[in-house]
Every structure is written in C-alpha cells, then in structure tokens.
Amino acid sequence: MPKIRIDNQEYEVPEGANLLESCLSAGLDLPYFCWHPAMGSVGACRQCAVVQYQNEEDTRGRIVMGCMTPVTEGAIFSLTGDKASGFRQAVIESLMLNHPHDCAVCAEGGECHLQDMTVMVGHRDRRYRGLKKTHRNQYLGPLVHHEMNRCITCYRCTRYYRDYAGGTDLAAMASHDHVFFGRHDEGTLQSEFAGNLVEVCPTGVFTDKTLVGQYTRKWDLQSAPSVCVGCAVGCNTVPGERYGKVKRVHNRFNAEVNGYFLCDRGRYGSGYVNSDTRLPYPGMRGAEGRFTALNHHDALAEFERLTVGRRVAGIGSPRASVEANFLLRSLVGSDSFAPGVSEQEQPSLQRATALMRSTPARVPSLADIESADAILVLGDDVTHTAPRVALALRQSVRNRAYELAADMKLQPWQDAAIRNLAQEQRSPLVSVTPGSTRLDDVAERTLHLAPGEIAEFAFAVAAALSGGDSAGNPEAAAVAQMLRDARRPLIIAGTSLCEEALLDGAAAVAGALVSREADGTRAPMLSLVVPEANSLGQALLCGDDAPDLATLTARAEAGEIETLIVLENDLYRRGTGEEIDRLLDAVTTVIVLDGMDSATCSRADLVLPAASAIESEGTVVSMEGRAQRYYPVFVPGDERHSSLYWLLCCLKAADHKHFVDINHVDEVIAACASAVPALAGIVDAAPGGSYRSHGVRIPRQPHRYSGRTAMRANISVHEPKQPQDEESPLAYSMEGLNRDEPGSLLPFVWSPGWNSNQSLHKFQDEVGGALSGGTAGARLIEAAGPTTVPEAATPSSIDAATLELIPRPAIFGSDELSARSAGVRDLMPDAYLELSVADAKTLGVEAGDGVVLGGSDTAFEVRIDPSLRRGCVAYAPGLNGCIGLVPRSGVSLSMAPDWKRRDADLIARDGQEGSLS
C-alpha cells in the first residue's frame, strides 16, 4: 500500500486507487460530481481538484483532478491550500451560473449533492451578471421527472444510462453550454433501470415523478431497512414514509447484492402499499353474502372459532415472509400446508432448490455474477424475471475490457479510457431462449429454442465438457469451449419456463465445469432464477413432499378440509379459474390473510388485513439463498397487522404447545430456525430486537425531522405520541445514532455536510466497499452437503401438432404487488400473445390483429417476435387476461372475431423489442 502525503499528513492508501477515492476513504471531504464509485472517473466536472507537488522543493504545485490521479508512493498533495480550494470554488461558481436556485420547490432539496458541495466549497456570492440559459423539459414517462434547468452537465446520467445500464434512449445533445440530456423526442424512458437516474443525478434534473408534487423532503421521511419483494433477487431498499404513506423507495447499498442500483419494479413498485384496494379492517361474510367490518378483538375470536378444533389446511405464499409461512404451516400441520405456487411451478421450484443445494458450483451473489467472464443464459429473459441480475450481467460482459485494460496498466476506474480501448469487445454471453431478450445487445450469440430443446442443448454442452460427443451439435461444442476458456464461467437458468429438465441441464453444465478442473483455477457458478421474493425460502420450508394445489383440492373434495387458510396469496393467479373454484367450493370456510382485495378475498368467509412488507418485520430468502430481514418503516394504519401477528395470536389461542410462550418476532425466528434445519441460518440474517447502537435503538427519522405540521390540525393540534417499537432494534424517533450499525439495520444515509445519498461512503470501510457494519443477510446454502450433478433428464413435451404456451414474464405487470402501484401500473401492457413469424403466417395474422385461444373467448392482441422459436406462443403471466393461462400447455389459436386494431403507431411501438408500454 503506497504512502502519500496530503496537507502534511501521511496516509496509507490502497494500491491502484485514485486520489479522490483515497481521500474519501480517509475521511477527507473532497467535493466531486462526475465521479461515481460504480462508474469510475472521466474528469468532466473538475470539482475534485487538488494540488499536486512534484517533490519537496516544489512550492507551487499544479492542479490535478483527484479522480483522475493514481496514488503513487511518495506523492505529495494539498486539498486545503488556497490554490486548490479557490479552484474548486470557481468550479461551483460557474456551475451555478445557469442553475435556477429553485431549491425551495425542488424535490431534490435537502438531499442535493449540488447543495452539499456548494456549501462545502463555501461559494456564496454571485458575480455573474448575464442571463441564465433555460431548457425545455421533456415528458419521460410516469416514473422519472425531468427538469433540465437544474443540470450541471456532469454527464453522470448518460454514463449511467447508456454506458452502465445499456439504455439507448437518453443522450447528451448539442455542445458547449447548450448541452442537453434527454430523448430524441418526448416519451417513456425505455430502460428498466431508468429510475436509478434519480439517485445518480447529483441535483434535481431527474427526480421520482411519484414523489414530485408530494412536497415531502428527505428530512421528513421516516425510513427503515427493507428488502424489495418485487422478485427473488432481494435488493436492499429504503422506503420512506410520511403521513402513513410510502413516499418513495431508494436504494440501500449492499456490496453483495444490489450495490448502488435497483430496477424500476423495485423502485416504483411499492405504491401498492398506498393503494385504495388495501383492506383496512377485518371482514366477516354474513348470511346475505356481504362483508361486515369487525374490530380487532372480534376478528381474532372469529379466526379462532373457525380454525381451532377444525380440520384445517393452509396455503402459504412465496411473497410472504418465512416466519408467516412457518406459523401457518405450524397451525395447519406440514401435511396440510401447500407452498402456494402453481402446479406447474412447484416441481420446478423444488428442483431448482434441490439443485442449488447439491451443485458443486457456487450459487453466486450479484457481486459474483458481475465477476463472471463467460455467461450462458438458459431459458430466462432475466431482465424480466430477475431484473437486477440483468444489470449485473451488463457489467460481467465488461470483464474482457478490464482484462485488456490491465494489460495496458489501466486501473478499472479509468472509465473512458477503458471504453475507448475495448470498444465493442466483451466477455462472451450466450443466450439460449425461446425468443429475443433484453440482453441480446450484449450477447455474443443468441439461440432460439423451445424449452425442451434448451434442456437438450444444455445437456449437449455438458456432454461436450465431459469430453463426450457433441458432434451433432457444433453450437453446443462452441459454447462448451467458451466456458472452458473462462476462469469464472456462469450458468444462469430459471424456473420461468416451468421446465425441470432445463434446470437439470444447467446444473449438469456447471457440474461438468467443476469436475473438469482439478487445480481450482476455475470457479464455475450456477445461478437459478426463482420467481418471487421468498420462493426459495418457501421451498426450503416446505421441502419436497409438500402437497400441491391439486392434492389439496382432492383432499377437500374428499371432505378432509373444513377450513382453508390462505396467506397473502391470490389463488386465481396460481391456476385456472375452474381449478381454484373447485378447491374453494369444496371447503366449508375460507380465511384469507392479505393486504389487498383480490379474487380470492371475494371468496373468503373471513378476511384479515395484513400489513405489507414495508409495515412489518420478516425474513425472505433470495435466489442466491440469502436470508434477509425487512423492518417496518411505519406502523400500519387502521386494523392492519402483520400476518405473523394474526397467526401467532391464533396459535396461542389454540394452545399450540410450541407457541404458548412465544411473544416476540425473534422467538418466532428462532422457533423456525430450530424446526426447519434448512432455515437454521435465518437467525443470522440480522441482529435481534435487543440490538442497541450506542445504547439506544437506531432512529428511523433523521435529525432534522420536523414533527409539527398542520396535517392533523383538523383532528387535533397536539402532536400524537410517537409509536413505540417493542420488537425491532429501530425506533420511531430521531433520537439515537445512525452510525456503525450492522448493514442490515441501516435506515438511511446521512452525515454532517453530506445530506445526499453520496454520504454513503461515510458508512463504508472504503469507498465502494462493503458497509462498515457488515454486509446484510446470511447465505443459507453456502455449505452444501454432498454434491451431485444431474444425469440426462427428459424434458416435458407436448403434442407437436399444437402450439406451446410459453410464459415470458414482464417486469411491469407480471408481479402482483408492483402491478398495483401507480407508475408501474401505467406501464403495464394489455394482454398479448407473441407469435413467431412462421406461425403468424400460418394463422394468417399480423402484429396488431386479434386471436383467441381454442376453447376460450378472450381475445389477445398479436405481437410478433421474429426470433421466437416456431411453435411457441409467448404470453406475459399476470397481465389482465393472461391470468389463468396454463404454462407449457398445448393450445390452438384462431382469428378473433370483431377485433378492433389499435393505432398502427402504438402497435409498432409496443411490438418493439423491450418496449415498456
């Protein structure tokens, strides 16, 4: 580690770092704009200037940019000298020439990096007497708000959007002081990661559209560490609340998972918490079929009456916490507890779980995924099934560039230089899917096959790797070679196609890579995408023998079930309407615990309103096997309680022997960990409720939280008493210290002088590194037992004469909760079916025409994916109209009678690859 001198003080700094990083890591405040820890340096803003001296004798020194200057042994710098600080003041002064000073009405106000830096350099008085430049703003869709006049031209937005996230529809336009960042014309930003602009932009050009107009600022947001429940990646988030509403969700740094970025489903998908379809009170269906609201006490009494002493079965939920599922399973018994996924999905989910636990390859974190140098994607379009993984893969393919850079002795942070050097050279990514995917632009090769064929292809690759015969499949041989040449090959597959053999094939490839390597220089990885936030936790809880929905239905029809308890699950999304009707018709009583109204709720006899993940505490297990805890950001209103609470009350009322003495979340967690060995590790996901930071609970509110407002003045002029949190290590208070706590408990980032999210580095050991308090979460499948590698498996097949229905999830729409959030809802497409060119021709239809499925009368718009494998018909599960379609079933299509075509432009735009709307 080189030693350098800054203002006569010696510092030991990391080898290969730049001076700006080194200063920040050393706790020195050096202002900056264009540099970003995840995106490196380009030297555009010139804000991070310092003076470098040639040697001891040099008294004048010269200005260099901290972010562009490598630290070398013995280098001498000054940060605080007049020359350096004067220059930095001049930079801010000129950035301010055209800045509108509209802080008071700017959604960024109070967490604006530009404000912070302006104060930091001490610029105050304006000397410029000219007119300010103004720009016209653009409509960029329902998520991101654009206010160009606030721009300081740091180029972070396009560097993030284009270079980092692969978006193409945001660019720098014009030149000199007319530079404009926007689209060619107004319209929704097409990247699924556009929302990160809000956090990347150091000022208020890009802000959350869902926040603008709420007149809430960071200092008035109450927040707590949370985990996104939008998919199985498990990104760490910080939702912010005010007046009982979720105002916005920001990224919570986790070095192993999401790093600095979220996807837009995660960022904007929590609006369901504020939705008017939320259930406020428990309801009991009366004789005439209508619901009557119950108070809390009566509701519990009914819950008990309908469960205790009756033959009860339960259906859990992969979107509910481990703990809630565990309690329901305890209440009904494991034989009568179904995991709550569709019949088609359940075997795939169980298979994926078994493979992850038995593969000799590493099940990678997102950080591991970013380190991959050759990638084989089998089946999933990960941008839609595990979005944040796709953003990670866009970084993996850059590893080739970093290798080239290392040969030239360039450091990874020399961003522009590396891009110029590598140009279009990338680490290989081969995508084998039924049709085009959002990663095709960075794929070296794409192959389009039906699900069963993908499985066969995977086994052919595995055979080629094991020295077997792949003569019949040169593509497989080439992919095998690509993986063999890599040091960190990564195989990604997923359950979205409901094809077990495909998962086996993926594991076989990963296994073959491991066994080929005796010397350990290669570290193969196997990542299996599962659909929901707690799918993996649910599979680990349920094991292989859990009944599926069909089994429960059969038992209900045999009169074995009186009461069915459904936990946070709309069963109508898990099977066809007839199937679910049969099940619900066959039981006497249906109890639903859920947060929102749903088709299943309408069939319930008793409904208990459940708190959302943002209002409760619980553990979910991500697709990497990482158990992560979320905490209530605020106390749910009305009569909402966490499912955990309702179920625990019921268990205690039933005098369940294991639960009579349990009163605290921590005890539930412990009970679950000891009852289910596969989940033993969940206790390590986060510290228990007794954790104290500097002797007190961690505050959910920042120091400057303003309690008094007129919001409640019509009710009472007195401030209500703050709620007490008896369970978690967090307090509904601004008292306490938000410092050095474990990463899993970080409620927000703020540091004196650093009001923006850039203060994060104050919570990291070194800039860009893990949180000082440790990385959140605990990996559950790290130490796998005996490893196995699957032999050949037979893929499922359908009658060759029919078309095969292929689920291709959509980031905006396929997930039940986010689809009920403002913003995301606006981006949800209408139901459509995607056809190959050949099949469309056979049917005589074109894009924009309507078709109906044999035996039904719902019409779907036709989209055409020219790359879609012939014989496949793709649909997006979860869209209105697609609910109840059976994945992988054989179907026949015909032209829809009386179909009205939409506007040709709209059809063309929607049909475009990667279109959002």
Binding site: F87, A90, M408, A416, A417
Partner: protein
Amino acid sequence: MTDAPTHPLTRNVRPDRRPTDMAAYEANGGYNSLKTNIGQRTPAECLEIIKDSNLRGRGGAGFPTGMKWSFVPMDNATPGHKYLICNADEMEPGTFKDRLLMECDPHQLIEGMILSAYTLQADIAYIFIRAEYHKAIGLLREAITACHEKGYLGDNILGSGFSLEMHVHVSAGRYICGEETALISSLEGKRANPRAKPPFPQVSGLWGRPTIVNNVETLCNIHHILEFGADWFQALGKGEDAGTKLYGVSGRVKNPGCWELPIGTSIREIIEDHAGGMEDGYSLRGFLPGGGSTDFLTPEHLDLAMDYGTIGKAGSRMGTGTMIVLDDKTCPIGFIHNLTSFFARESCGFCTPCRDGLPWSAQVLESLENGDGRPEDLETLAYQIDYIGAIGNTHCALAPGAMEPVQSALKYFREDFEAHINEGCCPYERSASGGAVS
C-alpha cells in the same frame, strides 16, 4: 536526384495557386522519396532519421515528431490495425497554412503520409479535413486515386510488401475536432469530446488501436527529410529549431499572406518584409504570434526569432506560426471578446471551466466592451484566468489556450480596460457590437 531544396514545402506552389497534379509533381522530383525509401530502408531506420532531424509538430504544440512516433508499439504483439491520421481540421483563428499546402500541392501531403505510415507500419491512414475545404477535399481524393493507379497506395506498394489504405474523412464542423483525441472520437462517429491522456493515442487511439495524429505541415516534411537527410533539414533552420516553417500574417498589414521561411526567421522580417508592414494609417499595437490561442506580444518583441524556444521565453507560443496583428485603431477588448466568444462557442461542453467558465469570461468582456464594466470585473477576469488558464485545470487544451490572449491583454493593454470602465463606453471607432460571436 533533385537538388536539395531550400523551400521544400512550397517548391511546387505556383504564384496563381493552381494545384500540382501527379505529372507535375513527379516531374519536380515527387515520389522519389517514396521509391527510395519504401522497402529500401527499414521502418526503424526511417524513424531514426526523423528523430535525428529534430522535426517538431507544426499543429501548435511543437512536440518532437520522432519522439511521438517512438511511443507506437512496433512489436506487433497485438494483431490489428495501426492508424495514421492527418489533422487537416485547421480552424484556429488566424491560421491559413494547411489550406495552402493541400490546395497547391496535394501529392506532397500524400507522399509524406505514405512514408510516415511506412515508418510507423500503419496500414490505414485518414485525412481528417474540415468540410469547408471543398477544393482540397476534391484534390486529395483525386491524388489518392492517382496514387492507386501508380501503385503508390493500396496493396503491396511498389512490391515492398507494405500496404496502405487511405481515406479522406470530411468533418461535420466544430473547432474542437482539431484536438487530436476529439478528432479520434469524431472519426469513430461520436461526439467530439476529447479523451483523457494517458493512455495516449499512440497506444490506444482510433478504435482503441495505436494511432498517430499529425498536422498537415508536419507530414509534408517527412518525405523530404527521408530524401535529403536529417542534416539537411537541421541546416534549414536558423536557430535551434530545424527545417522551414510556414509563417503567416493577417490583420491590417499591407500584404497579408503565408510564406515558407527558415524556422527562426525574425518577427520583424516576417511582418515588415514579407507582410509589408502595417497598412497606411495604422500602427502596430501587438500581435498573437501563432493563432488565436497564443499570448500577445508587442512591438518590443519584433526582433525575436520565431522559433519555439524564443517565443516561449517571451511569454507566448509559436503555435501555428500564423500571426494576427492588432493595430492601434482596433479595440483590444473587442478583439479578445471576439476570441473568447469564439472559444466559448466552440467548447465541446465536457468540462466545467471551459463550458461554463468561458461564457462567463465572455460575458465580463462583453459588459466591459459595452461600457457596463465595473472595476471589480478586472479582478474577476484575473480570477478566471487563474481558473481556466492552466493546462490540467481543464480536460483538454482548448480552454487554457483561450485564456492566453485574455491574460496577455490584461498585461499589455490594462489601460484600455480601465478606459472602458472609466468612460463607460468603448473608446475605439470599431463598434463594440462587432465583437460578439453567436
């Protein structure tokens, strides 16, 4: 072999500026150097000669050409192309020398480029030329075709085994394209933002490959040096520097123009003898010695030699060697306001001091020129010079170059600034409104 020329660069330049075609060029010894060097000398031998010649780049910075070339990897360890680029973007205010070379003697540039590419073992060459130079573009394209017919370009040139493709790339405008790394960005079809150095283009340039960018005039010297030798070239210069130089003078002189003279010729000789001295009724107040981004010198510097070292010591730069003369009836503040507005407009918009600092400087100069100046404006200007005016403060050399005339004007013409402030108007006849560049 032709006799060693004394004016190698302009030996084919006709008084009426009619271009030299292939036949005329060859009749005057053209492509001799090509024939006697390609395949006869090794590239390494050629490079040694260029180094020995002490040729310095004529694009403005004066970097020794041989040294620049020696950074290009010659081991061919990494397979792929190497590029030679001729910088024919000439847009520096007051500079009009490369146009002359290309319009009068296109083959000279091409022969120089072929031999440069041979020395560097570059297999693809570009001439990056500004779009307004229609005539030169046509002539260069014709010349390239003629070379292909003769076997001087294309595959296996004259049976030597060396092959070279040559393209004329016509720019779409913007002064910043002349900056070599911005030029490379532009050639890649991108916005012409300069690139940080290191890595230098010599190792990672066009498409990430080793690339050399040289000025037209620099490249026009190469084959002469390889033909007549380093010693001959050294002897052409008058002082420390080697070779001849195209010197130009514009402004209110009797005979504005451009002449090839031994490098190190005195300024007085250039302005008084070649440019004929000041127009009647005008006297000399100062001059920018080498284009719009060099510091003012004044009549007291007239006897200095126009070479890199001497001009540098006097506090300015040789730059492109083409002088802009400030007369006593032209307002120096209007003059630098014009230049500063120009540079502000031509900023690529990448780095803050240039993008936002130059318009700020221009605004201060504008109010001074319009009579709205305040005493503290001079401090603000000095502050801006400090802020924008040093290499390293900005991402590329445009902005520091832009501040050179401003800083020297403040030094030499301070009384003019004060007069503008005190009188509340521009005391010169030349109207203030003419200064703005929009």
